[in-house]
Structure formats: structure tokens, C-alpha cells
């Protein structure tokens, strides 16, 4: 139904973004590993820029049940919302994987909010921070908030996004303590932010392909 986003990322830009997301996820995995004291494997099978409708369809396509999400906002040259989303049924598995030990269902459900908040926090910080850092920009990233709802509610959080906003939709797989959990990373961007991202990516590509090596800010 919805048309293509008015602004799209080129193939090269998308490759660069995928590269950055992978970097961010790897960084997040390290942080998670520190947090759960276990090896955490995160992988990103696909990165795409889609319309909100497509994002909702993606979220609801495979999951009829309700979803749980960790929400953080980011502000700077690009602004928007970042959501780490799981099917509710899988969220407890994630909590169990993160917390470890033989916790009762009640214990898990009690810890669910905090555990999801911290896990999402680590992951989103890692991703957003790494991407922003590599793009030479700084984003102020808020504290996490855990929300429950369906795909449509997640993508259309109040205040209502502008009609031209789009979604950077990332599939993400967790493998923790021999548990495999599939989730999604969704970044809701308005059109100016997408344009800014596109520009930043172009700069990043230019820097990366330039013969002269320019060290990214804050990179040690």
C-alpha cells in the first residue's frame, strides 16, 4: 500500500549502514557479554529502510501474539526512536538467558522489566552509539523504557510520527546460553533525519574510500 520512502538509501549507503550496524551490534554483544558473564552472539541478517506500514507488516507477519519493546530516544543531527522488539513469548526467554540460573516464572516475570530495560539499553546504546560515533556525530541517547503492544502501536508511538517518516528495520538474532532468540531493531526516523543519515553515510563512505586515512572522532 505505502509507496517507497521518498528518500531511499543507495546500495552503497545501505552496505555502509549494514556495516555500521554490525559494528554496533558487535560492540553491544561485548557489553552484553560483560553483563551476563556468558558468551553472547548477535548477528544481523538484514538491514533495510522501509515505510512504517512495511515495518508494521514485518512485525506482525510472523508474530500474532503481542510484542514487548525497549524504547530509547536519540537526539542530535538525526533524531528518532530506537526500539528493540521481541515477541512477548520470547522476551522471557531472553530474560532467562540474560539472568541465568533456575529462576521461577514469577522471578522471571518480576525481573522482566529491569532485565529487558538493561538488555535493550546495552544493545541500543551499543548500536546507536557506535553508528553515531562512526558517522562523526554525537547523539544523546535517553534512558530505556519497556513497552508492550502490537507492531502498529510500536511504530505509531505518540506523538504521531510524520507521514513521511520511515523505519530502519533490522532483524537481529541473539544466541545466549544455547538459547536462540529472534528480535528486531527498529529505528524510526523522520524525513530530515533520514536525509541527514544519508548525508552522513555518504561522508562516511567518502572518508572510508579516501586514500588519506582520517581517524573518526573518539576512535582510539
Amino acid at each position: 500500500m505505502a509507496a517507497q520512502p521518498s528518500v531511499t538509501l543507495g546500495e552503497l549507503e545501505l552496505d555502509a549502514l549494514t556495516e555500521l550496524v554490525n559494528l554496533g551490534v558487535s560492540s553491544a554483544a561485548l557489553s552484553l557479554r560483560e553483563m551476563v558473564q556468558e558468551e553472547v552472539l548477535l548477528s544481523v541478517p538484514s538491514v533495510s529502510v522501509v515505510t512504517r506500514a512495511e515495518a508494521i507488516a514485518n512485525l506482525e507477519q510472523r508474530n500474532t501474539s503481542r510484542l514487548v519493546g525497549v524504547h530509547q530516544t536519540f537526539e542530535g543531527d538525526i533524531r528518532g526512536r530506537a526500539l528493540l522488539i521481541f515477541p512477548e513469548a520470547q522476551s522471557l526467554e531472553l530474560v532467562r538467558a540474560v539472568v541465568g540460573g533456575d529462576l521461577s516464572l514469577e522471578d522471571l516475570m518480576e525481573l522482566e522489566q529491569e532485565a529487558l530495560a538493561e538488555t535493550g539499553n546495552v544493545l541500543l546504546n551499543g548500536c546507536l552509539g557506535t553508528i553515531a560515533n562512526n558517522l562523526g556525530r554525537s547523539l544523546r541517547i535517553s534512558l530505556p523504557e519497556v513497552i508492550h503492544g502490537n507492531g502498529s502501536e510500536f511504530i505509531n508511538l505518540t506523538p504521531p510520527p510524520r507521514a513521511d517518516s520511515c523505519v530502519l528495520f533490522i532483524y537481529i538474532n541473539f544466541a545466549v546460553r544455547r538459547r536462540d532468540i529472534q528480535g528486531y531493531l527498529a529505528m524510526l526516523l523522520d524525513l530530515p533525519s533520514l536525509i541527514a543519515l544519508k548525508e552522513l553515510l555518504a561522508e562516511f563512505i567518502e572518508r572510508a574510500t579516501a586514500t588519506t586515512v582520517v581517524s573518526p572522532p573518539h576512535a582510539d
Binding site: R96, M109, N121, L143
Partner: protein
């Protein structure tokens, strides 16, 4: 800006929560009063140091990383008490542990100049949660943890999220082994489980328990009854299934069914028993009545026998006198043909009378028997020709014997008479045409048989069955068949003593006799003679021996004067020298006087204190190879129990003919001579 700084510090100190600010180098620049109070460290003690330096013994976990990310990436981080309990060593003013959440945020824009660390006291919330939790746990424990039933909580995906300790007992799985597994994998009856779980989840459950079959960890099967209900928690729905072990109940039901079946079988058996009880009582009563009847019959026979025996004995003595005198008269009427003819008719009459009285004695079991060990098979073979002649050509005679027949101790002459008698009865019953079979078999009569026939001693017998296919007898006739003078034959055809004689003889021989008969079918008379373990003896046919006299000295002991005179006359007639005594004592006196006696001829039963057998014993003491011949009308146990002679005792039955006397006397005398010569050698 000291004023401003002082004011800022005052603001920070006024905040009811911990405020820490670190600079770009992660060193503490601000440490508010709350932090000082809670940590016990004054601002002056911590400023300029990093947090790991301030709390060297604490694992600060993600905090240093969070500070770095805040400074480098401008990222904010939350570190919760729930996942990171007691990150800082903080205490409340009452020195209780102070539970806290920490948030880390960048300070300054666009580049962060520092990092703000906020410490929030969540003790109250945590303690409230803990209280609620404990209360809930108490309830939980009371209900779930201690339940004997397995309680599983399953999520909307069908995955087990909770399992109580009963699962270990019932299914062999620890809680940790079950949580995260698909519940359906526990069940053999997968469809039934799915229906139960889905029914509960969708609220369409009937509420009735479902029986499920589960497989334990050890592979064994268990029967469970499931009650499932939906359990909404917040945004989720879970299904809690209570699984009750119904193995015992099933076993009990099975046992109940089995015992019911058993009870039914028992009841059927009882009914059957009741139904047949009457029948069995009747059977037993009939058996008892048969036994009583048999006893009564045998008592009657005994009484009749005693009576008959007494008469026959006296009758015999009279006959003896008549017979002896008639024999002697023969010489007196020599030349008078008419007188001789009349005399001969008188002798024939005596002979028939003697036979009659002999039969009576036989029935009374009082005839003297001279038993020998015989092989019935050989005996019957020798008898076959005579039997064939007796039954005539119209009767087919077949004889069947066991190949290894036992021997029996029986008087051969009487057995011959008995069989002849039975054969003739059979012939008459078949009206001269039919089949007669004589069968001899070894047989054991057991205690059961003996119970029915009181006279029978259980043991091994040789059975001789004489069977015809003649007219047969009614039970009433069979009942009376052995009674003397009872006959079904036409007038003049039978004396009614034949079967009586056979009966008495068999009884006297320690045997048993039985008649089976059915009208129109035939009759079978079975004689059972006791088995003898001794070897077969050679039977001497006395009748075949020549009639010879002698000149030996004979001592005759006879109480009846007329009999004594007759006997003396007979011995004299045969050429013997004779001494006579009226009783045993007189006879012994003669022996002891030293008279050279060759033969003691004594009546068995005589009045007086000395018994005839005692006389014979004492006489033999005096004259070791003395020949002894007893004579008697009946034995009445005088010679041996049961009226049977000891092997070395010879007996001559009264009444006897002159010839019989001559043969027997000769036989006894020559035997004695033989013994004498043997001992002389």
C-alpha cells in the same frame, strides 16, 4: 563561581537521592550529602578519585563502561538493583542495606563534559516487593510447592514456564529440565494434551478433567488426570495444568474390576455348588444307602449262612451214617439184583443230598477249604474243555487273560465248581445261544471301592469275570441272587444254591463277588480273589488216583457213635487195622499208651476240653511222622482262621464216598512215609 558552586552544591545536597558527577577522566567532582551519608564517605574523601578507586573491593560491573559510553557516545544507561544488587555499599541511616538503582547520563552538549550518576533509593519498593513476594511464596509453597500433583505453567507457545517439585516425584524431571521445553513432548497422548491446553487458553475448556498418558524421564508410562485453566498475568496468558497421578486409582479400579470378576466367578461357582449340592447330597445318600444295603445284605447272608451251616452240618452227619451203612449193605445184598438196584438208588439220593448240603456249607462259608496257590490263567485253560461242554455248542466261549496274571490262594475244586456254576447260569440265561466270555485280570480295589462294599479289604486282586449277553436280571433279582434257594429257573432246573455256594466260597476265600446285570443286556459276575505272592503249586487230582486199601494202624477219633461205627466199618473194609476213640482226649491216651499208630483220622469238631488240632500236635510230638487226616462237615474256624487249612494239614470233607476215603487215606499215608524216609536220610 564559588557562590554558584556553593548554591549548586546546596541543591545537590538537598536532593533526596544520590548524585555523583565524574569528569572526562571519570574522576568524581560532585558527591552529594545523600551519597556521603549512605556510603559513609565524605565528599572530600572521594573527590578526584574514580569510582573503582573509591570502591576497590566492589564489582561495579557495567558502571565503568556506562560512564565511558556516556562520555564518548552520550548514551544513557540504567543499572538496576534487580540485576545488579548492592552495586555500591550503601546503608540507610538505620544501617540497613540500601537498595538502589543507578542511572548514568552524559552531561554537557554537544560534547559531554562529564557524566551524571544518579542513585535512587528503591529500598521501600524492594522491601514491599519482597514482602509481597514472601507472602506470595508462602501461598505458593502452601499450594504449589507442596502439592502432590504436578503443576505446570505453560505459556501461549506451549512452552513450560513453571514446574513444581512434584514433577520430580511424578515424572522424574527437575524443574530446570522442564522449563523451556514444549509441554506436549511429555505426553504420549499429544492430541489430548493439546486439546486440554488450547481449551484452557481459549477459555473453551469444559472444566472436566482429561486423562492423559505421560512418559516419565526413565521411559515408564504414567497415567495423569489434567485440569487446566487460564492464568492471565498482565499482558500475557498462561495455562496452569494440574496433573494428578491416577495410576493408583487405575490400579484400584483394575483390582476392583478383577475382584468383581472374581466375585462373579465365585458367585457362579457358589450357585453351581448350590445347584449341584442337592444332586451331590442325593449321590452321597444313594451311596450311603447302597453301603447300608450291602451291609444289611451281607448281615442277612451271614445269618442265613449260620442257620444253613448248622442244619447242613447235622444233616451231613446223618447222611454220612446213611451213606456208610448203604455202602456196607452192598455186600449184604450181593446176588439180590433188585435189592442192589434199590440200594444204588438210595446211594444216588445220598450223593445228591451230600452235594446239596455241601453247597449249603459252601454258602455258609463253613466248608473246609483246601487252598492252593494257583495261576488263574493256567487254571482256566485246564478248565476250558469242561466249560465248553457245559455250555454247549450254541454258546460261543471266549477267554481273555492278562498276560501277567498274579497268583491267588484258593481251593481249586471249589473254584472249578464256582466257574462251572456261573457258566451254566449264563448258558441258561442265554437260553443256550449267545456269547460267554471269561476274563481274568489283575485289579486293585481301592479304599473308595471298599467304602461302598464294607466287606472288601482294599488291595490287589485277581478278577475273574464271567459275562453273558443273556436275559439279564432286574436289580431286585440281583439283590436276592446269592440267597440260598432263590432261583429264577423253572421248577426242577435249579436248586437255588449255585450262586449261594459261589458267594460263600469267594467270601470264605477272602475275596469279593459282584453282579452287574441289566435286563435284556446280560449279566456279568465278577469274582475278586486276593493276590498271592507265592509260587504256583501243583494240584493233585485226587479223583485220578487209584482206589487202594492198606494194612496200617488207623486211630479214629469221632464223637458221633453212628458215624464212628460207619467209619470203622469203612476202614476195615479197606483192610486197615482200626483203633477208635470217642473224643480227642481218649485218642491222645491211646497214642500215649504207645500203640503203633500210622494214621490219626479225626473229626475236627468234637466235644471235650482237648481240641482236635491240639490232639494232632501232641500226637505228632509222640509220633513225629504220624499221618493226620481231619474230617469235617464244616470247619467253623476249627483248623485255621477263615476255615482254610494250613499247608501241611489234610482234610476230608464229609460226606465222603468209600473211594474218596480210600484215595485220601492212601495219599496221606504215602506223604507221611515220604517225610519219614526224607528225615531218615
Amino acid at each position: 563561581m564559588p557562590t554558584s558552586d556553593t548554591f549548586d552544591n546546596a541543591i545537590l545536597d538537598a536532593i533526596d537521592g544520590g548524585v555523583i558527577v565524574v569528569d572526562q577522566n571519570e574522576r568524581v567532582t560532585h558527591w552529594n550529602r545523600w551519597m556521603a551519608s549512605a556510603s559513609g564517605l565524605a565528599a572530600a574523601q572521594v573527590c578526584g578519585r574514580t569510582l573503582p578507586e573509591i570502591f576497590p573491593d566492589r564489582n561495579l560491573r557495567r558502571l565503568p563502561l556506562a560512564i565511558r559510553e556516556a562520555l564518548s557516545l552520550r548514551a544513557s544507561t540504567i543499572i538496576t538493583h534487580a540485576l545488579n544488587p548492592s552495586l555500591f555499599p550503601l546503608q540507610s541511616p538505620t544501617y540497613r542495606p540500601l537498595f538502589h538503582d543507578i542511572t548514568v547520563s552524559p552531561v554537557g552538549a554537544p560534547e559531554p563534559s562529564g557524566c551524571l550518576i544518579l542513585v535512587a533509593d528503591v529500598s521501600m519498593a524492594t522491601r514491599r516487593e519482597k514482602f509481597l513476594r514472601n507472602r506470595q511464596n508462602a501461598r505458593y509453597d502452601a499450594v504449589v510447592a507442596r502439592a502432590a500433583d504436578v503443576i505446570l505453567t505453560v505459556d501461549e507457545e506451549g512452552v513450560i514456564q513453571l514446574a513444581n517439585p512434584a514433577a520430580l516425584v511424578q515424572l522424574g524431571y527437575y524443574t530446570a529440565e522442564l522449563v523451556g521445553r514444549a509441554a506436549v513432548d511429555l505426553f504420549e497422548t499429544r492430541e489430548a494434551w493439546i486439546a486440554t491446553w488450547r481449551g484452557a487458553l481459549e477459555g473453551s475448556s469444559s472444566g472436566n478433567p482429561t486423562e492423559l498418558v505421560a512418559r516419565r524421564k526413565d521411559g515408564s508410562i504414567t497415567y495423569l488426570e489434567a485440569l487446566a485453566s487460564r492464568w492471565p498475568t498482565g499482558t500475557r496468558s498462561h495455562v496452569t495444568a494440574i496433573l494428578r497421578d491416577v495410576n493408583q486409582r487405575r490400579a484400584t479400579e483394575a483390582a476392583l474390576r478383577a475382584s468383581e470378576a472374581e466375585a462373579r466367578t465365585a458367585a457362579t461357582a457358589l450357585t453351581e455348588l448350590n445347584r449341584t449340592l442337592e444332586e451331590r447330597v442325593q449321590q452321597r445318600t444313594a451311596q450311603l444307602m447302597n453301603t447300608e444295603e450291602a451291609l444289611r445284605q451281607s448281615q442277612k447272608m451271614e445269618a442265613v449262612g449260620n442257620l444253613t451251616g448248622g442244619i447242613a452240618h447235622d444233616f451231613n452227619n446223618l447222611l454220612h451214617v446213611i451213606s456208610g451203612n448203604l455202602h456196607l449193605l452192598k455186600r449184604d445184598v450181593a446176588g439180590n439184583v433188585v435189592a442192589q438196584q434199590r440200594l444204588q438208588k438210595a446211594l444216588d439220593g445220598v450223593s445228591r443230598s451230600a452235594k446239596l448240603s455241601s453247597q449249603l456249607l459252601a454258602f455258609a462259608r463253613q466248608q473246609p477249604l483246601d487252598p492252593k496257590v494257583i495261576h488263574v490263567g493256567n487254571f482256566l485253560r485246564d478248565l476250558e474243555d469242561m466249560l465248553r461242554k457245559a455250555v454247549g455248542e450254541g454258546v460261543t466261549l471266549s477267554m481273555v487273560f492278562d498276560s501277567a496274571l498274579w497268583n491267588t490262594l484258593v481251593d481249586p475244586g471249589n473254584l472249578e465248581n464256582s466257574l462251572l456254576n456261573l457258566a451254566i447260569n449264563a448258558r441258561d440265561a442265554m437260553d443256550n445261544r449267545g456269547r460267554l466270555s471269561i476274563e481274568a485280570r489283575n485289579i486293585a480295589l481301592d479304599a473308595d471301592y471298599a467304602n461302598t462294599y464294607p466287606e472288601v479289604t482294599p488291595g490287589q486282586y485277581v478278577m475273574i469275570a464271567v459275562t453273558d449277553n443273556g436275559a439279564g436280571m432286574t436289580p431286585e433279582v440281583v439283590q436276592q441272587a446269592f440267597e440260598p434257594f432263590f432261583t429264577t429257573k423253572r421248577e426242577g432246573r435249579g436248586t437255588g444254591l449255585g450262586l449261594s455256594m459261589v458267594y460263600g466260597f469267594v467270601k470264605q476265600s477272602g475275596g469279593h463277588i459282584k453282579i452287574d446285570s441289566a435286563v435284556g443286556q446280560g449279566t456279568s459276575v465278577r469274582i475278586y480273589l486276593p493276590r498271592s505272592l507265592q509260587a504256583e503249586e501243583t494240584v493233585v487230582d485226587m479223583d485220578a488216583m487209584p482206589v487202594l486199601g492198606g494194612n496200617e494202624m488207623v486211630l479214629i477219633a469221632e464223637d458221633d457213635e453212628s458215624v464212628r461205627d460207619t467209619v470203622v466199618a469203612l476202614f476195615n473194609d479197606l483192610g486197615y487195622r482200626v483203633l477208635k476213640a470217642k473224643d480227642a482226649q481218649s485218642a491222645l491216651n491211646i497214642i500215649e499208651s504207645g500203640m503203633p499208630v500210622d494214621l490219626l483220622f479225626t473229626d475236627v469238631v468234637m466235644p471235650g476240653p482237648l481240641h482236635s488240632t491240639e490232639l494232632a500236635r501232641k500226637a505228632r510230638e509222640r509220633i513225629p511222622h504220624l499221618a493226620v487226616l481231619f474230617t469235617s462237615g464244616y470247619t467253623q474256624n476249627a483248623l485255621s482262621p477263615g476255615g482254610r487249612l494250613a499247608p501241611d494239614v489234610d482234610l476230608l470233607n464229609k460226606p465222603y464216598s468209600r473211594d474218596a476215603l480210600a484215595r485220601k487215606v492212601r495219599h496221606v499215608l504215602s506223604n507221611a512215609a515220604q517225610r519219614r524216609s526224607q528225615s531218615a536220610n
